[in-house]
């Protein structure tokens, strides 16, 4: 297939199951009917899944009060305190 814009040959690629044609000359992309919608749907699924890490199996999240420290996802839900050692605060009034 020839590029409708510059006439160079188009090559076919597969992206997440969607066939797209890209021009080897001007790098323009040709999408068939419905392919843009498919790509948009894939993108939105990816962005919904990505930010919150899936919960760790076997480590249910302990309830915390509204004023609790913000907890960032991490290995086993730990809060990154191990590098501070065992705070002396835990040993005094």
């Amino acid at each position: 297939m020839q590029c409708p814009k510059c006439g160079a040959p188009m090559h076919t690629y597969n992206r997440n199951g969607v066939q797209i044609e890209q021009c080897s000359g001007c790098r323009g992309i040709f999408l068939d009917y419905g392919e843009l919608e498919s790509l948009t749907r894939l993108e939105s699924q990816w962005s919904q899944q990505a930010p919150p890490a899936p919960p760790q199996q076997g480590y249910p999240v302990a309830p915390a009060p509204a004023w609790g420290a913000p907890r960032h996802g991490g290995h086993h839900g730990h809060h990154g305190h191990h590098n501070r050692g065992f705070g002396r605060m835990l040993f005094s009034s």
Binding site: A62, G68, H82, M89
Partner: protein
Amino acid sequence: MSTPTVRALGRFASAEAHRNGGPCLCEGLADTPAHVLADRPDATVVRHGPVVAKAHAADTDPGELSVRAGVAAHPALAHVLLAPLTRSAVTADGRPVTFWPYGLPVDPRAPRDAPWEATATLLAALHAVPTDVLPGPLPPMRGPLKAARAVERMRGAGEHPDARAVEAAWAALPAWARAESPAPGRSLCHGDLHLGQLVRDPGGDGSWRLIDIDDMGEGDPAWDLARPAAWFACGLLAPDDWTRFLGAYRAAGGAAVPAEGDPWPALDVPARALTVQTAALAIAKSVAEHRELDADERDVIDACARIAHLPDELTPAPTK
């Protein structure tokens, strides 16, 4: 370097350790009169071999101390509280002295070995003891009073940019948590739980016992869970450790929180009070020592700022 109180306690402890005569062979301590475990106005603690002598605060009520020591010696608490030795004394400046067997404390360098389950199980047993079998009258648990004193100490220390957040978090607490009205709850409580309050029983199988009876009394058992709860909420205690502690307390039938579900309705007020107490002491100490707050202290003060900005609907209604 040593104060008259420390020297007096060293003599007391040595005399108690060698009541039956004989030379002092106390683990290489023969050349050193005493080993000072703490030296503060509210507690000077000196060890000589197997004996620990503790001078309590000068304003200690002798009657209340006697009841508390009687509770620690009571058979119903033999597996919960370290029992005192039978002697007592008074320092030259009037501080009452009690004597205790020395037991190995929790190792601050071994966080993975921290006895969270044992601590929780001991607390559940303490909270389950029927108070009518104990010596009395049982004084109130002094947790709220300690929080109020910490805030007073912060106020007396001088200006600090973070004091406002701590004051605001304090002001949002109900009166009982600020020691301004009688506290709810009729359980026997420790009143000042932290990991420095556990030692291995030297007389038995080496299992853990709670020590330090100065704040023990009748009150809301949630107060005893509230310091670990506050550490967890402030991000100082890993969620796994908190879950271990709380799970063991519930497994032992502890009375302070419901057996399942969200424990925070019971824990919230005491945990906020202990967060304020910890923050106030951090400020007072950092001002006195002319130093910046460390990372842990900063976390606790940040929690006070979040408490101070809680929307009203997230603040549980004060109970009396």
